[in-house]
């Protein structure tokens, strides 16, 4: 007990915790040494601090004149990851035909009347529908290329590759080359994605002459912006494969027995479809012009053409009409169109007072001849299919974040087939009025109400179709571009 206490006292004394009531020469010496060290240390510290201050003082004014500029852009995108954006798109749909509206559109009369078999899967139901979700990835590959990928995923999980292309970055003289699968640059609306449309659905001339998505194919696109003073000029040519387009399809098989209705082909049949030609089988050319107007106004006018050097069609309507004869056609087709866009940018906030008007005219001619027929003597006869259409639409920002749009679209102003001895068939036109009101909650979300009233020509009958839509669109991820 006693021993323990003595040791504790010694330890405390050594640690300098106990005040020196009884002096110890050893401790005093240690203390003196520490004090001396502290003094030296503090002096050295003060010296270093003074030197630092001095150096800083000299460095600060020196930094000013050597101002340097930094290259590049500040962006929130992670350095090497592609920019990703996702568009969610859902609609509530009703019509006055117990949900048969979408089917009527799929069977509109005209030169591209659906031949059964290759209807698109985006069937609309009465009520809630999730439309294909768009996924877009884009990035700069290296100093020479940009790349872009767009997938859509439908509500059943079906994935479709809509676009996958590269763009050159470094070509001189205002040239740019695009390659891969992409929306063609023809017309005004063709390369707009559904989330950039001002209406829920595709317009009638596009739907019937180009297809529900517009013209989208695999190939190359070369664009050139020549120096034309204050006039903006864009010239482009495209060499496309010509796959599964309404006016450019190749590689179809010559019909064989049995026919769609199950009975064998007539013994009088003759002819056959030729093989698939090497691509490109579809060429397009387009030109866009925009004068420089005052800041509030923008105008762009365009003209385009498309030429398919091989197009094949097989007609087997025997299931609906057993009296009809199976035949196949082959030849070339051509299209052309005009487009005009005018936009007024009002000083109002959030798009209030902004106005845009755009219109396009499209005309398609399929110059075909009979390549196969159940009545063999008809092989070789020419058949010329012609159809045209236009749409006009205007959108006005009637309040901040609110837009009202009105559209009139018509297809089949001319809609006919000519044979060697004149007109063989003619169809009625289909036309429609649509009114859409859109509310933009922010730049990234919107809600749209649309009502349409259409007079459609289906199997020679006039159908009056009224439709009503409520649509939401949400955009996640990268900030979308405000394209013209």
């Amino acid at each position: 007990m006693h021993v323990k206490f003595k040791h504790l006292a010694g330890a405390l004394a050594l640690a300098g915790i106990i005040t020196p009531s009884h002096a110890n020469p050893e401790i005093d010496a240690l203390r003196a040494e520490i004090a001396q060290m502290r003094q030296q240390y503090e002096a050295r510290l003060a010296e270093l601090e003074a030197r630092l201050k001095d150096a800083e003082g000299r460095a600060a004014p020196a930094a000013q004149p050597t101002a340097s500029d930094r290259l590049g852009a500040l962006t929130s995108g992670a350095a090497f990851n592609p920019q990703i954006s996702v568009i969610l798109d859902g609609v509530y749909y009703r019509d006055n035909k117990k949900g048969k509206g979408p089917e009527l559109y799929a069977h509109l009369d005209g030169i591209n009347h659906s031949h059964g078999g290759h209807d698109h899967g985006h069937e609309l139901e009465r009520g809630f529908n999730l439309r294909p979700t768009e996924l877009v990835f884009s990035a700069t590959v290296d100093p020479w290329f940009d790349a872009n990928l767009m997938l859509t995923v439908d509500s059943h999980g079906g994935v479709e590759l809509e676009q996958a292309y590269f763009d050159t970055r470094s070509l001189p003289a205002g040239l740019k080359l695009r390659g891969g699968k992409f929306f063609s640059g023809i017309g005004y609306l063709n390369d707009k994605h559904p989330h950039q449309w001002d209406f829920v659905d595709q317009n009638l001339p596009y739907r019937t002459l180009l297809g529900e998505h517009g013209l989208m194919d695999t190939g190359l696109q070369l664009t050139w912006r020549p120096k034309t003073g204050s006039l903006y000029t864009l010239l482009g040519v495209e060499a496309l494969q010509g796959n599964e387009q309404l006016f450019a399809t190749a590689g179809l098989a010559t019909p064989t027995s049995p026919r769609a209705d199950g009975s064998p082909l007539a013994p009088t049949r003759a002819g056959e479809l030729t093989g698939k030609k090497a691509g490109p089988r579809l060429w397009t050319a387009f030109a866009k012009f925009a004068p420089t107007l005052s800041d509030d106004h923008a105008l762009q006018l365009g003209v385009w053409g498309g030429w398919a050097n091989q197009h094949q069609e097989v007609h087997d309507h025997t299931l609906e009409d057993p009296g009809s004869l199976v035949h196949a056609l082959e030849g070339k087709s051509r299209l052309w169109g005009l487009d005009a866009v005018y936009k007024f940018d009002a000083p109002g906030a959030y798009g209030a007072g902004d106005f845009s008007l755009n219109a396009e005219y499209l005309r398609e001619v399929k110059d075909l001849s009979i390549a196969f027929h159940e009545i063999g003597s008809r092989v070789g006869q020419p058949r010329k299919f012609t159809q045209d259409g236009f749409y006009v639409q205007g959108v006005y920002g009637f309040a901040p974040r609110w837009q009202a749009g009105l559209r009139y679209d018509i297809t089949g102003l001319t809609s006919k087939v000519d044979g060697p001895a004149g007109r063989l068939r003619e169809w009625d036109d289909s036309n429609r009025w649509s009114l859409a009101v859109t509310h933009h909650f922010s730049e990234f979300s919107r809600l749209r109400l649309q009502a349409s009233s259409a007079r459609l020509a289906v199997d020679g009958n006039r159908e009056r179709l009224n439709e009503f839509w409520i649509q939401y669109q949400l955009s996640l991820g990268a900030h979308g571009a405000h394209k013209f």
């Binding site: 101002a67 590049g72 962006t75 205002g174 923008a298 940018d345 000083p347 906030a349 209030a352 405000h482």
Partner: protein, 293 residues
């Protein structure tokens, strides 16, 4: 022979090198380029000064101007995210793409306020790398002018000294005016802004930002947000500032409820502004802020 070749090449390229075609995204960037570049530059401004620079669309006329530009002077930090990348993409001019010598971003030259906030759109149209509205801070504009002089010097080395001298001249004018602006603004109670676009000036003058009319950036005001704002600020001194392109109802409602003034101040100087016009814009802002005394 070789000498003759070089002489011909020089003769051919000399007129090209004569005037630099600069495209400025906003009027203030145009002003800065004009002040630093002097007579050696041709300037085209893309965004009209009375429009919200967030909301513009990539128009063909912009692509036209960018097609032949030697230099783009942008505010940056994604202020022009909606339209400048799209217009640059369509213009097919490799010289002015981001990362190249022909692309200059003002926001990349100076430290930004509000940098590093979460990239969460629930907070509105946010800019996680910082608030891009640097142009209302004269001090930062002076720093940007110096960086711009360096860039112009890299593009046109023969005029480097002129560019640097003009940038120093601009910086000197800012230095000469700053004390007066500070003194004048001292004692102001601060401001409620429509959008967080005047924060750099408030910060420079040492004044508080009392709130924003927008609940989150890029989203129009709601009645509830305005009521909360008013309740929070009751009894304080301040002024509500907004731009002519922003709706006046919200600012006026808040100002009325608080017994303050709601003042419309322009965001940008005129399209062909000189440095003096820009200083007058700052004068106008300071004069408006003084109303909160």
């Amino acid at each position: 022979m070789t000498r003759a070749f070089w002489a011909i090449l020089l003769a051919l390229t000399a007129p090209l090198a004569w005037a630099l075609n600069v495209v400025a995204t906003t009027a203030s960037m145009g002003m800065l380029t004009r002040s630093v570049g002097g007579p050696g530059v041709n300037i085209t401004v893309l965004a009209p000064p009375d429009r919200d620079p967030h909301q513009l669309q990539a128009k063909p006329s912009m692509m036209r101007a960018l097609r032949d530009a030697d230099l783009v002077v942008a505010v940056g930090a994604e202020l022009e995210a909606g339209w400048l990348p799209a217009a640059l993409d369509a213009a097919a001019n490799p010289r002015v793409l981001p990362g190249r010598l022909g692309y200059f971003e003002a926001a990349a030259q100076v430290p930004l306020l509000e940098a590093g906030l979460p990239a969460d759109r629930a907070r509105g149209d946010v800019h996680p790398m910082g608030n891009p509205h640097v142009h209302l801070d004269p001090q930062r504009m002076a720093d940007i002018a110096r960086a711009l002089a360096e860039r112009l010097a890299r593009l046109k080395p023969e005029q480097a000294a002129d560019f640097r001298a003009r940038a120093e001249g601009f910086a000197g004018s800012v230095q000469a005016r700053l004390p007066a602006w500070r003194t004048q603004a001292a004692g102001s109670g601060g401001a409620v802004l429509y959008h967080k676009d005047g924060v750099y000036l408030l910060d420079r003058l040492g004044l508080p930002l009392l709130g924003t009319i927008e609940p989150v950036p890029g989203v129009p005001p709601t009645a509830r947000h305005l009521a909360e704002l008013t309740d929070r600020l009751r009894g304080r001194r301040g002024v509500v500032l907004y731009h002519p392109y922003q709706p006046a109802q919200g600012p006026q409602r808040v100002a009325e409820a608080l017994g303050w003034k709601a003042i419309a101040v322009p965001m940008e100087p005129p399209v062909s502004a000189s440095a003096e016009d820009y200083f007058r814009l700052i004068d106008q802002w300071v004069a408006a802020l003084v109303q909160a005394k």
